[in-house]
């Protein structure tokens, strides 16, 4: 039977390395990204909407969108790696290294988090409105409530917490990456066992950090709003984006000549199924969150959605229903689509775009009722593409310099993954 026809190639086969054509893009992408980022910031500061700190606030929020977008992909990839170990998954070994490389961007992104941290110290409320000293008075929040709120939403605390989140996530990412790479050289089975044994507590740490990071970094943009589901919502978007990114990167690697025989249509089929599943999961979570708040109709909560149903945000809100759910849902419904790598690749790119819209829709309405005019939109796009350029360039650069293989060549479950077939 077909399961035994796959023979593993030697571990130093060139097709397990990053193709040169991609590696050469690293420096241009990173430099181009940095330039775009700077240009985006400048345009945002000059052409951003509003008076006083308005343009600063707009630019910082756009920066947060860009940061969150890249960060959420890596975060989702970290979860992907952890859950594969937790479930002792066999099918995913051939694509797990791609996720591992993507998740390794977390420590690097921690540096790009610094501007957000600085912004949180502003007493003007640049980025986080709770930092503004006069917030309670200007928004009619009773004093006793506000005193309690700023116990949590204070810049000192925020800084401490953010550092804890980033250190924990970076620690997990680096630990799992290091062990997995060591296995490339030594092939120790005990490494897999160790990673499996620690994946349980690691997932617990991950879910706590994700929940609270989502509350701190995104939910607190609207200081008085709260939703217990918010962490799950952010997680749903991240894990979807991660599967899309894995499918997209794997396809690109194959297109450039790497891991051609190892990743088969069966793996794309599975990634496609997961993309379909997580599109549904995202819809389930976001619809439940909306329905409960809409039905309960309590002013403390509804204002978040109310803001997003005004002006241009309204069309984006409705757009999310159709383009983040209905369209990809119908598109990925068929097995025939999921078994065509090119189509899976196309849908992955599409969904990554929608993930950006989702993050944009979470962050930007808190800045103001408009999209920020042509200058604002341009600044947002430049910032995001700059950040993506930096992100992709950095990842490629690291992979090329450190000669990271794009396949976990000595994973004990690799034969199972190579032989994998969908029923």
């Amino acid at each position: 039977m077909s399961e035994h026809t796959h023979k593993t190639k030697p571990a130093d086969d060139p097709s397990f390395r990053l193709p040169a054509s991609l590696g050469n893009l690293a420096i241009p992408l990173a430099i181009g990204g940095a330039v775009l980022l700077v240009v985006g910031v400048l345009i945002g500061l000059m052409a951003g909407p509003g008076e006083g700190i308005g343009p600063q606030r707009f630019t910082m929020s756009a920066y947060l969108v860009a940061f969150t977008y890249c960060f959420s992909i890596s975060l989702g990839c970290l979860f992907f790696v952890l859950i594969q170990h937790l479930c002792r998954a066999g099918w995913s070994v051939v694509v797990r290294r791609v996720a591992e490389i993507l998740m390794l961007a977390i420590p690097a992104l921690a540096i790009l988090f610094l501007p957000i941290l600085f912004a949180s110290w502003s007493s003007q409320g640049v980025l986080y409105a709770w930092g503004y000293e006069g917030y309670a008075e200007s928004h009619g929040v009773p004093g006793e409530i506000w005193t309690e709120k700023v116990r949590y939403l204070s810049s000192d605390w925020f800084t401490v917490r953010s550092i804890v989140y980033l250190v924990l996530l970076s620690g997990l990412a680096v630990y799992y990456f290091k062990l997995s790479r060591r296995q490339d050289e030594t092939g120790e089975v005990t490494l897999t066992e160790r990673m499996q044994a620690r994946s349980g507590p690691a997932v617990m740490v991950f879910s706590l950090v994700t929940t609270f990071a989502a509350f701190d970094w995104l939910m607190s943009l609207a200081p008085m709003w709260f939703s217990t589901m918010f962490g799950v919502y952010i997680f749903a978007g991240s894990i979807l984006a991660a599967h899309c990114a894995i499918a997209m990167v794997t396809y690109l690697l194959q297109a450039k000549g790497a891991i051609r025989e190892e990743v088969t249509v069966e793996h794309y089929h599975d990634l496609g199924k997961f993309m379909f599943g997580f599109v549904t999961f995202w819809t389930y979570i976001s619809f439940s969150q909306f329905l409960l708040i809409w039905y309960g109709n309590i002013p403390e909560e509804t204002h978040w959605f109310y803001t997003r149903l005004q002006g241009p945000w309204e069309s984006i809100s409705y757009g999310l229903i159709f383009f983040h759910w209905l369209f990809p849902f119908l598109g990925l419904l068929s097995r025939h689509v999921r078994r065509r790598p090119t189509l899976v690749f196309a849908w992955a790119i599409y969904l990554l775009l929608m993930h950006f819209i989702d993050i944009y829709w979470i962050v930007m309405p808190e800045v103001g009722p408009s999209l920020g005019g042509a200058g604002g939109v341009l600044a947002t796009l430049l910032l995001t593409s700059g950040m993506i350029g930096l992100y992709a360039g950095g990842i490629l650069w690291y992979t090329r310099v450190n000669q990271v293989r794009v396949l976990a060549v000595r994973d004990p479950r690799l034969p199972e993954s190579l032989a994998f077939e969908n029923i």
Binding site: S227, I285, S288, R413
Partner: protein, 467 residues
Amino acid sequence: MSLAIPQGLDNTVERPGERAPLVLGDSTYHTITESVSQIAERPPSAAWLIGFLISATLASWFGICIAYLIYTGVGVWGNMNPVFWGWPIVNFVFWVGIGHAGTLISAILYLFRQDWRTSINRAAEAMTIFAVICAGTFPGIHVGRAWLAFWLAPYPSLNLWMWPQFRSPLLWDVFAVSTYGTVSLLFWYMGMIPDLATFRDRSRNKWRRMAYGILALGWSGSSRHWMRYEKAYALLAALAAPLVLSVHTIVSFDFAVSQVPGWHTTIFPPYFVAGAIFSGFAMVLTLMIPARSIFSLEKLITVRHLENMCKIILATGTIVGLAYGTEFFIAWYGQVAEEKFAFINRALGPYWWAYWTMITCNVISPQLFWIKANRTIPWRIVVISIFVNIGMWFERFVIVITSLSRDYLPSAWGYFRPTWVDWSMLVGSFGLFFTLFLLFCRFMPVINMAEVKATLAGQLHHHHGDH
């Protein structure tokens, strides 16, 4: 030969790269047929008879209580202002939750290609259906005039000249639970068709052969039939997976769309689903471990199966714990006075005992599953899973009773006390559940023989091919 089937029954160690066997001993296709069929073919054992007698008595008592309730009115319950949703709704949510493991095992684990589901899915699906029957009873009699419960159906009434309100979450519940019951029944029955055919073909008695023959619908095992059957099974699994999530989500909507403090929180849908899976698996373990030893099924329901279920309990229990924590945190973070009070009242108010029972059983006791011995020694698993069942009943108690007994109007505050009818119905519903389950064990194939044989075939094939 790298994948040896050990002679013992310990298959809990799995070295990466080698899959541990799921069918143990020197099992062949025929021994699988034998060990499952003999349960239904031999005369009932004394243990079965005693168990059946006890549970049938309790089930009859349940029936008597229902008749008494319908004749007298819902006042025989402890439901009283302000706790209008007393134990009936607690029991309803509890049983619906129990009913989640079956379809989860059949559908979601199927989609995730978890082969170990094959030994336990049949019994778990049966439990799903029986739990849904128990669950459906409670809102049915809670409506007061139970004989008019058909008014919930959107039928063109010549008397009422009105339609049900689809904007009410209680009607969503009717649709969700009845759809879930129907689809689970289809799923269960469809899965049984090949095994019923096995029973039919083994019958030497004419009547028995006829009865199983009718149930098996003339199944012949044709490959064309199998192909469509497997497709239908995969489709039903793909449909049942979101369905099973939707059911407890909608049950959580019953609470969460309202404005009652402690109920209106957005985490409810995923948290209820996790809790349902948690309690469902605990109930499966509670019943499967005794059944496995009574019917000598240790080679098919192996320790590995039990261990995997324990791990799922651990995972979902931890999710539930995280949800409790998040709720508490947001109650403080949100700074809404009523919400804050509701949560402090849960932990420190008059029902503190229920709250801490819940925390102990649901969050702390599953943590014992971190230790391997607790996941592999059957009696310990039973003890812990019974704790989980108790804890999950108390979770619903805490949600329903503490929030209602302390609503927005302090002058309406009260303390809920159950009556003997409440107690009888809780115990009686267990009687009904066990009665149905014991009948199922006696007359139906308790293990999905066809799928276990397929698992064995895969195992043999691997074993064979590695030479």
